[in-house]
């Protein structure tokens, strides 16, 4: 098992290098001069040039890239914001807990709804419940989460004044954003669980279990579920990553201070180092989460485990 974990960790490194390279390249070629942004439009050109030299902005591409990576890995230094001059890393780290909380809650909502509904739909295929849940799942996937957020605010904050529409401090603040973010994931997880269950139920070993005289409820809960949930777990991990990205929109709607909103504001003010750092940060987190999911997957599925004994 440890070999498996080690292997996956090692495979992570080239991916992280690739991500940093792509992100750096994109930001490098963004039009706009960081030094000028920092000093302002009216600053004299000679000052701007001097700052460029100081910041190493006139060095060639690879030197700059190498410097960036070294700083990031060794010193956790992702540079300083062009606008506020505060360290990028600190800015992100300060806001990350909120984004993480939001994404985690979203996944929670998605799983708590998606998995049970998916299971019941599969065991009662073609029933009213199944058809209704499939329609809801389609709607959930189709409704853009930013519109859903607006509607929820309209209903719960404005019309009925039940829940706050911005901020993220109390649990009441967290309900609407979590639901908004989690809905489309819930829909996807419902469909995935349902189709996985349906496929598993058709397998020969389910027939074997029944031929043993096993109760149907046990056949479903012990034999079918254990097998059906394995691919669903991978989807849940992917959804987490998707939600980390989707948090960008949700944070904007609900006024939550998170990394997503930070980045949107940064893009608008052309604060490229901040954007770069943000994307890199989230990519790293996402990759670690996926690694965790893969490990969990290997733990649950003995066929994978033994490949690496």
């Amino acid at each position: 098992m440890y070999k498996y974990i080690l292997r996956r960790l090692v495979m992570l490194i080239p991916v992280m290098i690739g991500v940093s390279f792509i992100v750096f390249t994109m930001m490098y070629f963004t039009p706009g001069d960081p030094a000028r942004i920092m000093l302002g439009e009216s600053a004299p050109e000679v000052e701007v040039q001097r700052l460029r030299d100081e910041l190493g902005l006139n060095d060639n591409f690879f030197v700059q890239y190498g410097r960036y990576v070294k700083n990031a890995v060794v010193h956790q230094d992702l540079g300083r914001s062009y606008i506020t001059n505060r360290p990028v890393f600190d800015e992100i780290a300060a806001r990350f807990p909120n984004t993480l909380k939001l994404a985690a809650l979203g996944v929670l909502v998605a799983v708590l709804i998606g998995v049970p509904v998916g299971i019941i739909s599969a065991t009662r295929q073609y029933s009213l419940f199944d058809n209704a849940s499939m329609v809801f799942a389609l709607v959930g996937v189709s409704m853009p989460n930013f519109w859903q957020g607006l509607l929820l605010i309209l209903l719960f904050s404005i019309q009925w004044a039940l829940l706050p529409s911005s901020g993220f401090d109390t649990w009441k603040h967290m309900i609407l954003p979590a639901v908004t973010l989690g809905t489309s994931s819930a829909a996807i997880i419902t469909r995935m669980t349902r189709s996985s269950m349906l496929e598993v139920i058709r397998q020969d070993y389910i027939r074997t279990a029944r031929a043993k005289g096993q109760k149907e409820s046990v056949v479903i809960n012990r034999h079918a579920l254990k097998n059906a949930l394995i691919p669903v777990i991978t989807v849940i991990g992917l959804q987490f990553g998707y939600l980390l990205g989707g948090a960008v929109l949700t944070e904007s709607i609900f006024g939550i201070t998170g990394v997503g909103r930070l980045m949107v504001d940064a893009i608008k003010s052309r604060d490229m180092l901040l954007v770069q750092g943000g994307v890199l940060f989230i990519a790293v987190v996402f990759s670690i989460v996926n690694l965790g999911v893969d490990i969990l997957y290997a733990y649950l599925d003995p066929r994978i485990k033994s490949q690496y004994k």
């Binding site: 792509i22 994109m26 930013f146 404005i158 929109l249 893009i267």
Partner: protein, 291 residues
């Protein structure tokens, strides 16, 4: 000697006709198809369908609720919302189709090469796809648009690049499963070269999952583009785009909800129809997968 033929011969129908027949039987999918056809026609003939231009402002007629002159009402600049929705359809469908086109072309090529040649090339291409996948697609799109500048063309590129992984994987999987089958050996034995093999044999056999993914892909692309528009990073005003319309209508949501209702509904109905169609295509193309 009994001469009864036991098996009645069914009329030979081509494989695509079979697919169409099965699709036809799926009422939901046909509904999705109908909606999409209407949308596409409206988008193509936007100039004729829309009663006003997308930027015809009339500050005397702001915030009108739906009436006979303005079917969906007017927005904060007095522009006809119905017309803007129609022009928005043009934008969204363009983005969807081109983004998916880019992704399918590049992703498909990468996947085909990776699957076909295997070894180091496969490894390298798969690592590249892993890198793309490590960044959540919205963030990737945002970064690309941030780097290139917010305009229609860059939105298409950004969304397209984010979708490359799925097509890459589909084509690669198809290639891997077909590569070792015997008809490939047979084709090689009569002298077919690699390019010919890929183009004439392997890609046609991967069509089915590609078509399904493309349909869903257009939906996702439209959603992503709308998301970009919503945070102000997409198509710039005065071009009408559904996500941007939601964004500008946001502040008036309490008093004039119709500014956001219609673009929101437009997005939802489009995605819904595409999903219905996509599901239907999946069932029609491989009924064995149908549960």
């Amino acid at each position: 000697m009994a001469e009864n033929t036991v098996v009645k011969k069914k009329k030979k129908s081509g494989p695509w006709r079979e697919v169409w027949r099965r699709l036809n039987q799926n009422k939901a999918a046909m509904l999705g198809l109908l909606v999409m056809v209407i949308l596409i026609l409206a988008a193509i003939f936007a100039d004729y369908v829309a009663p006003y231009g997308y930027d015809d402002q009339d500050l005397m007629r702001r915030f009108q609720t739906p009436n006979s002159q303005h079917w969906f009402g007017t927005d904060n600049f007095g522009r006809d919302i119905f017309s803007r929705i129609v022009y928005g359809a043009q934008v969204s469908l363009k983005v969807g189709l081109i983004a998916v086109g880019i992704a399918m072309f590049i992703g498909g090529a990468l996947g085909a090469v990776a699957g076909f040649y295997g070894g180091k090339i496969d490894n390298f291409i798969m690592r590249f796809i892993d890198v793309l996948l490590a960044i959540p697609s919205i963030l990737l799109a945002i970064s690309i648009v941030a780097a290139l500048g917010p305009e229609l063309r860059n939105v298409m590129i950004a969304v397209g690049i984010g979708s490359i992984p799925s097509y890459g994987r589909i084509v690669r999987a198809s290639v891997l499963s077909l590569r070792d089958q015997e008809f490939i050996e047979a084709a090689r034995a009569v002298g077919a070269d690699d390019t010919r093999l890929i183009l004439k044999h392997i890609i046609p056999n991967s069509m089915a999952p590609l078509i399904v993914q493309a349909t869903i892909g257009v939906a996702n692309a439209i959603l992503s583009a709308a998301g970009l528009g919503f945070i102000g990073l997409g198509i710039q005003p005065p071009l009408a785009e559904w996500g941007a319309m939601l964004n500008s209508g946001r502040q008036y949501i309490r008093d004039y909800p119709h500014l956001t209702a219609f673009p929101g509904l437009a997005i939802m109905i489009t995605i819904f129809a595409l999903n219905l169609l996509g599901d239907g295509l999946r069932d029609a193309l491989d009924p064995r997968l149908k549960n």
